[in-house]
């Protein structure tokens, strides 16, 4: 027996083997009762087994046939009401699509495990300490205060990692990788250099993660040696796009930061590394950092320096060892090597090792972004609820419309179960179509939202978005649930229908109005809609407030071009000359007003904060100002006014004294009495006289629109790693990108333009989470509003149609059309008001859940609430107006004749 018939049999009572058996036995016995011998009866009956089989099949075949007939019939029924059916399918497609899209994103960013073998056995290795660990000059990646007065960091020096990994190899694998990816310039043979992200990894990286290169080989211990031939593994994406996806691309000469390297392998297609949302294109052994990033100055930390903590670790637990035992073991060995030999350190100051779950790798999103995704998940859930209510209402009114048909079919002998099945099949059909539509809408949505989410991020930041089985299951589950839930109520009603009642109801009709359920559903829909609108309003107004923040300079017609001459091998003294040449070349471009180099682009999200040491004030770590190193014309270029004194000049730098310009907030906070000009201060606990104030500038925002303003001070420009040029233009700054790129390439083709951003673009990038939330919540609010309006209008139209007779009588008895309109509007307003009242707690809860995201806005912002109320009320009125008008134009004679 096939699986199918087995399955069918399970569901089909009456065709059970036992039943048939008993029936045939009864036949046999009756023959005996009739006077035949048992043997004769058996002969007359024939081959029992065959009869049995054929009987069962006849039943099942007929059942299958009837299901097919029902489906065909259902399809015809749906096509008879194309408007209603497409409204259901469309709402489902939008609701399911939006959910699938957000879920796809949440899945890719937060839920999906790493693209490696057995991610559950991975643990992130971190450490905690009472402060900066002794012996460390620089800690890459995470280093932040946690509970108590302890800090948590993750990076360790390369030598510490190597020793631990060697000792660990008996237990399992310890994998090392750069705590941050690095921007590099890469040039394949015969192509211009371009900027991509590079991840430094340990020699065992690909093998231990279980993601071996699809072409070529992984790294070996020999590759991870300072001074050896530099080799790299490239991402599958880079190999396909830039190396033509050819197998002879391996071993082709490629330059990384002007150093010739050999490509030895290609990573698996979907392997993005250890952090969702970051997709490095090049992987290189840890030791090659020395070759790729030569020292800019003698005292800067180098790749293999003991004082540079930059290697993160991830450990794979072996199945034989318990997690606790393995951790204790690793922690003990870490304690032994964490502090350089010969350094005297109190035992309490040594960092303590700890492990965290590694299934998802490093956090792909910061807290705000993750919060934003969950907010979207909630909002989209509300949209789905609105959709479900809408669909339920549409199906209900459809069921009511077909009550007569159902009653007649019942009276003519159709089984109730058949009728129920018919209705469920029809809603399942709708759900199926809606689900398919939802998948299409969802994949489009997901791409759009992903793009919004990524705006302004690096090109190598991408999530591995795909509709994987989990998304499919989620979507299918949603649509089936909706169909069953909301197909069931009308189906049960229809199957209970009594012909007498239905026909009588048709005759007496009038006063009863509508059954209560649809009215309640419309109210719920309006309540949910109010919640969605308030959320959209709050997020939109919050974004407006952030945008309207006074930044202290002119954000329009301002752009930044960025280059990294040190990556092309420029030494410190040659960089200055290069910067001067680029500056004067850029200034000569038509449309450019002024150009100035700057170390930190304003409002780009990064920057330096210095703890200030002001004579006469107690030194407090963390209390200080933002520091920017700027060219002489910087303030004029960006449009920050100089209030007093003069601007800093390159000649202002002396061995132990430097001229600086401070802003007014700086003066107010640190030099409130007397003129600040000529006063001195320092950075850090030791010195307090290095900087002399020569000028005072207007206040401006340095790297955050959201946080309270922080004082700024400006020091004369000295080129660091990446050089940014602030460019003030007379025309739209976006249009300058191409000519700026050409100009920079003309100065030195080995130094590519790595980034070009307008100031507005940078601000938008800072606000990308807020923009995403505001845009998507507005879209969802609109969808909810449309659905609520359609739901209300549809219900009223149905109501008016049912009351045609009554309205005809009223009008024949002298009711004016105004009275009729008032009657219908009154009826609808009771539903709307109930919905609005119901919506207030809903909106409040929504606002509360957004509290942390809002900028200078209360969850119950009165203006937002009033606006949402007003919009919803007027849309509801407009939606009610159409059927009300129709009611008023009913011709009493025609209406009564219909009777």
């Amino acid at each position: 027996m096939g699986v199918w018939s087995r399955l069918v049999r399970t569901f089909r009572a009456g065709h059970h083997d036992a039943d048939i058996e008993e029936e045939l036995q009864f036949h046999l016995d009756m023959d005996v009762v009739d006077g035949r011998s048992r043997r004769e009866a058996r002969l007359r009956l024939g081959n029992v087994a065959r009869i049995h089989e054929e009987t069962r099949e006849a039943g099942i075949l007929e059942w299958l046939d009837s299901v097919l007939r029902d489906i065909r019939f259902g399809w015809r029924q749906l096509r008879r009401t194309p408007g209603l059916s497409s409204a259901v399918v469309l709402s489902l497609a939008i609701g399911i699509g939006a959910n699938a899209a957000i879920f796809t994103l949440v899945d890719a960013a937060l839920l999906r495990p790493l693209p490696v073998t057995d991610p559950d056995s991975l643990r992130l290795v971190v450490w905690t300490s009472t402060g900066f660990p002794p012996g460390a000059d620089n800690i890459n990646g995470q280093y932040e205060p946690i509970a108590g007065d302890r800090y948590q960091g993750a990076a360790v020096p390369a030598y510490v990692y190597r020793r631990l990994a060697r000792e660990q190899s008996a237990h399992g694998d310890l994998i090392g990788f750069g705590a941050e990816t690095d921007a590099i310039a890469i040039a394949a043979e015969g192509r211009p250099a371009e900027q991509v992200r590079m991840q430094y990894v340990s020699a065992n990286f690909f093998q231990a993660l279980g993601a071996p290169p699809v072409y070529g080989r992984p790294f070996s211990d020999d590759d991870d040696r300072v001074g050896g031939e530099p080799v790299v593994v490239v991402s599958h994406r880079y190999w396909m796009n830039q190396l033509g996806g050819r197998s002879d691309a391996l071993d082709r000469a490629v330059r990384v930061n002007s150093v010739p390297v050999r490509v030895v392998g290609v990573a698996p297609p979907r392997f993005y590394g250890l952090r969702a949302g970051e997709w490095p294109d090049v992987f290189a052994p840890l030791a090659t950092k020395v070759a790729f990033q030569p020292n800019r100055s003698p005292d800067a930390p180098r790749g293999e320096d003991d004082r540079n903590w930059w290697v993160r670790q991830i450990v794979r637990l072996s199945p034989e060892e318990s997690e606790a035992a393995a951790t204790i073991d690793l922690a003990a060995r870490f304690r032994a090597v964490a502090v350089p030999e010969g350094m005297n350190v109190e035992p309490g100051a040594i960092p303590e090792l700890a492990v965290l779950p590694g299934r998802h790798g490093l956090d792909g999103l910061n807290r705000d972004e993750a919060d934003a995704l969950w907010i979207l998940m909630r909002l989209v859930g509300v949209v789905l609820l609105v959709v479900c209510v809408n669909v339920a209402n549409l199906l209900l009114s459809r069921g009511v419309g077909r009550q007569r048909e159902s009653a007649v079919r019942l009276a003519l002998g159709a089984a109730r179960s058949r009728l129920l099945r018919q209705h469920l099949l029809e809603s399942a059909l709708l759900a199926l179509l809606g689900g398919i539509g939802g998948l299409l809408v969802g994949s489009m949505f997901a791409r759009g939202i992903h793009q919004l989410f990524e705006t302004g991020r690096d090109a190598s930041n991408a999530f591995d978005l795909r509709l994987d089985p989990r998304v499919l299951v989620y979507t299918a589950g949603l649509s089936i649930l909706t169909a069953v839930l909301f197909g069931l109520v009308p189906a049960l009603r229809a199957s209970r229908a009594d012909l007498n009642d239905v026909l009588k109801a048709q005759a007496k009709a009038v006063k009863s109005g509508l059954p209560r359920l649809p009215r309640v559903l419309v109210s719920i829909q309006i309540a949910l809609c109010l919640g969605a609108l308030v959320a959209a309003g709050l997020l939109g107004r919050s974004l407006e407030r952030l945008r309207a923040t006074d930044i202290g300079f002119d954000r329009h017609n301002l752009a930044y071009a960025s280059v990294s001459p040190s990556r092309a091998g420029y030494s410190a003294d040659r960089i200055e000359e290069y910067v001067d040449r680029v500056k004067s070349e850029l200034a000569r471009l038509p449309g450019v007003v002024r150009v100035s180099p700057v170390q930190t682009r304003l409002l780009s999200g990064g920057g330096n904060h210095a703890s200030l040491n002001v004579p006469g004030r107690p030194y407090q770590p963390g209390v200080g100002a933002h520091l920017n190193s700027v060219g002489e014309e910087f303030l004029e270029t960006v449009g920050i006014p100089l209030m007093a004194g003069r601007m800093v000049r390159p000649g202002d730098v002396h061995p132990d004294s430097e001229a600086v310009v401070v802003d007014e907030l700086f003066v107010k906070q640190f030099f409130p009495n007397g003129s600040p000009l000529g006063r001195r201060f320092g950075i850090g606990p030791k010195e307090s006289r290095r900087f002399e104030i020569v000028g005072v500038a207007g206040n401006s925002r340095y790297n955050s629109l959201r946080n309270a303003p922080v004082p700024n001070f400006y020091v004369p420009y000295h080129p660091g790693g990446t050089v940014h040029f602030a460019i003030r233009t007379a025309v739209d700054a976006t249009a300058m990108a191409e000519s700026v790129r050409r100009t920079i390439a003309a100065v030195d083709p080995t130094v590519p333009l790595t980034e070009f951003h307008t100031q507005s673009g940078l601000i938008d990038r800072q606000l990308r989470t807020e923009r995403l939330l505001s845009f998507v919540s507005a879209a969802f609010g609109l969808v909810a509003l449309t659905l609520a309006a359609v739901g209300l209008a549809g219900l009223l139209a149905y109501l008016v149609a049912r009351r045609t007779n009554e309205i005809g009588v009223r009008m024949a008895l002298g009711a004016a059309s105004g009275d009729v309109i008032r009657m219908v509007l009154h009826d609808s307003m009771s539903m709307v008001i109930a919905g609005l009242l119901l919506g207030i707690p809903c909106a409040y809860a929504m606002g509360r859940s957004l509290r942390a995201t809002l900028f200078q806005l209360e969850p119950m912002d009165p203006l937002t609430a009033a606006l949402s109320f007003g919009v919803l009320l007027s849309v509801a009125l407009a939606a009610a107006w159409v059927p009300a008008r129709r009611a008023a134009t009913i011709n009493p004679i025609a209406a009564l004749r219909e009777e």
Binding site: F26, H27, M30, I51, E54, G59, E62, G413, A415
Partner: protein, 107 residues
């Protein structure tokens, strides 16, 4: 006669026998045999598949009942749909049968 036609005839006979009242398979077979003066004998191998098919098609309904002798028997009853089918198809069948008989009588 093609098989479908024969099947149709059997269904008609079953419906006709159930018009007199609900009954079990054996009684249906006996009735057809008696009413046709032993001309038509319904094999169990055709009858039970037909009964189950007709139940699914909604022409008849089925349920378990206890007989006078105290035994459980599967009893079939005609539905409204079955009645309509009997009326419509019965007339058509009679017309066809009469036409065939006329032709056979003609020499």
């Amino acid at each position: 006669m093609p098989k479908a036609e024969l099947q149709g005839a059997l269904e008609l006979l079953v419906l006709k026998s159930l018009r007199r009242g609900p009954n079990h398979g054996f009684a249906i077979a006996s009735y057809i045999q008696q009413a046709s003066d032993d001309v038509l004998r319904v094999e169990a191998g055709s009858l039970y598949p037909a009964l189950h098919r007709m139940t699914e098609a909604g022409l008849i309904s089925a349920g378990w009942q206890v007989t006078d002798a105290g035994r459980r028997a599967r009893v079939y009853a005609i539905t409204a749909k079955g009645r309509r089918k009997l009326d419509a198809d019965g007339k058509r069948w009679q017309a066809v049968a009469m036409a065939v008989a006329r032709i056979l009588r003609a020499t």
